[in-house]
């Protein structure tokens, strides 16, 4: 086959890949067609990669094959992580994505000079800056989520000023390079400064804001890929990058809306520093707590039960016990549904994935608005390791940091039961008036164990 023909086939396969990519996302929109979406995505990727290997420019294969195998070797284990580790895995994958984008941009520069045009330099500069900062930023985010690094925001005076001037420096270096691309020593400087900025950007952000940050980094990673597409004039990259970028962007917007917070507040608010003050104020008021046995009794007596899971269920890995509880109750003809807050847990859709993992049918998982309209007719609202997303202060207390955040109105249910280990606040670090209501029962204990006990009570024998 002639070179020209090969190139045409590559072009064609890229176009097909673009169409399939779009269909992949289109089909992901509903669980019924989602897996088909993944399939066409895989086909598209295979097609594009396969075609590229035949590109006449590619002369040395040995190492490419080897590194592909290495890549697969890293990818497969990363694809098998526990569901609770998905947030850090996602962060890590952004890091990888940004890394390769940056690497390619850098390579382009050094291969290109002295023939890099100013315009091309501008594209490369922007691409490498975004790629680099996304790389280090995502690493930090992953570290915080994996709890290798301190969760809580690390802040010092005038830090926003420092970070922003570092960013400014990176941009100035890029501009200098555009003016005269012929200064190889400026380029490494720009890379280093950008890497530093990534660190400074994410370190001061609290662990619980990481999900928003991840999605933001997600869109950065996407846009750096798109920019790379500009640099290499490869439209497949432009499209894939644009899709990824808009997805990350939309998700972070959704999260901010669901937390009633602005981007700037997330990025520079240094949210989630421990604020014991309010928590202390709690002690005065009285709290009613109950045993697993009592809880089981109340549940048995109910007709409609709504379970509201939260971050606590994730850390306790309680989803399978929750499934057992779900079975035990439905067996008794009790209508059990789950109220999923958009930002329950530590990433969008976190709870859905965990509960699906435990084989709970997804048509039992209700979105916030649906469930809120039913809660007044609900006998028991059982909260498992959720806190902020159920905090009525968001509705009532103008002073509260989460005021205005839409919540699940569990307090409207006839009886409220809350499984958590202590009176400690959630990530927002604020007290939850819910716990002091007359129709609220606190069930103190680890989510997994406590739910387990309730199940044992329900299955007759409480003897242990």
């Amino acid at each position: 086959m002639s070179q020209a023909q090969i190139l045409q086939l590559i072009d064609a396969s890229y176009i097909v890949a673009v169409v399939l990519f779009i269909l992949a996302i289109k089909w992901l929109s509903s669980p019924a067609s989602a897996r088909r979406g993944v399939l066409v995505g895989e086909i598209a990727a295979a097609l594009a990669v396969g075609a590229t290997l035949f590109d006449p420019q590619v002369v040395a294969y040995k190492w490419i094959i080897i590194t592909l195998i290495i890549g697969a070797g890293i990818g497969i284990p990363l694809g098998m992580v526990k569901m609770t580790a998905v947030p850090q895995r996602t962060a890590l994958s952004h890091a990888f994505g940004a890394l390769s984008a940056a690497m390619i941009g850098i390579a382009e520069y050094y291969v290109g000079i002295p023939h890099v045009t100013r315009f091309g330099m501008g594209e490369i500069g922007l691409e490498v800056i975004i790629g680099s900062l996304t790389f280090t930023g995502s690493l930090i985010a992953a570290g915080k989520l994996q709890e290798i690094l301190p969760q809580r925001p690390i802040v010092y005076k005038g830090q926003n000023f420092v970070s922003l001037s570092v960013l400014a420096a990176a941009i100035l270096l890029a501009i200098a390079l555009v003016v005269n691309p012929e200064q190889p020593y400026l380029f490494p400087a720009m890379v280093v400064v950008s890497l530093t900025f990534g660190v400074l950007l994410v370190t001061p952000i609290g662990g619980a804001d990481m999900p928003t940050v991840i999605s933001l980094l997600n869109s950065y990673a996407g846009f750096s890929a798109a920019l790379l597409g500009f640099v290499l004039n490869n439209k497949l990259l432009v499209v894939a990058g644009a899709l990824d970028g808009s997805s990350g962007f939309i998700l972070s917007v959704i999260m901010c809306k669901a937390m009633n917070r602005s981007f700037t507040n997330v990025m520079f608010g240094a949210f989630g520093q421990v604020q014991t003050s309010s928590a202390a104020a709690a002690e005065e008021r009285t709290v009613r707590s109950a045993s697993a046995e009592e809880a089981a009794g109340i549940l048995e007596a109910a007709n409609k039960v709504v379970i509201v899971p939260g971050y606590g269920m994730a850390v306790a890995q309680a989803q399978h016990k929750v499934r057992e509880l779900y079975d035990a109750l439905t067996k008794r003809g009790i209508d059990v549904r789950f109220g999923i807050h958009p930002v329950a847990g530590r990433m969008p859709g976190h709870m859905n994935v965990l509960l699906a993992e435990a084989d709970i049918p997804y048509d039992r998982l209700m979105e916030m608005d649906q469930i809120n309209s039913d809660l007044p007719q609900t006998d028991v609202a059982l909260i498992i390791g959720a806190n902020d997303v159920t905090n009525p202060a968001a509705r009532t207390d103008k002073g509260s940091p989460i005021y205005g955040m839409p919540i699940i109105d569990v307090d409207k249910a006839r009886t409220v039961m809350v499984i958590k280990r202590s009176m400690n606040p959630g990530f927002a670090g604020i007290d939850n008036p819910l716990y002091y209501l007359d129709h609220t029962l606190m069930l103190f204990g680890d989510a997994k164990n406590f739910v387990g006990e309730i199940v044992r009570e329900l299955s007759g024998g409480g003897q242990h």
Partner: protein, 98 residues
């Protein structure tokens, strides 16, 4: 502005609109798989990495290219893998639907 840039800009803008319209309609149920899928698609930068590494121009470009190959390919493999794993977990109560 070189004409390549212009046409890439068109592609970028249009793809942005497509992404926006499609993604804002993805059910919250699937937001986590959505993240991992778009990751996997984004990993298509591997094609660029393969070319950079394959062109075999300078030692530096080859090394950087190869790093990029494994980094992005691991994303591709891992991303598709975990997405499908998650989706396999989603089952409906009513017999046959997904």
């Amino acid at each position: 502005m070189p004409s390549d840039f212009i046409s890439n800009l068109y592609v970028f803008i249009l793809a942005g609109f497509v992404g926006f319209e499609l993604i804002k309609r993805v059910s919250p149920l699937l937001h986590t798989p959505l993240m991992s899928l778009t990751n996997a698609l984004d990993a298509i930068v591997v094609v660029a990495a393969i070319i950079i590494a394959g062109r075999h121009e300078t030692r530096l470009s080859v090394i950087l290219g190869l790093i990029a190959v494994s980094a992005s390919f691991s994303n591709m493999v891992g991303g598709f893998f975990i997405t499908d794993r998650m989706l396999r977990m989603f089952k409906t109560g009513k017999p046959k639907k997904s």
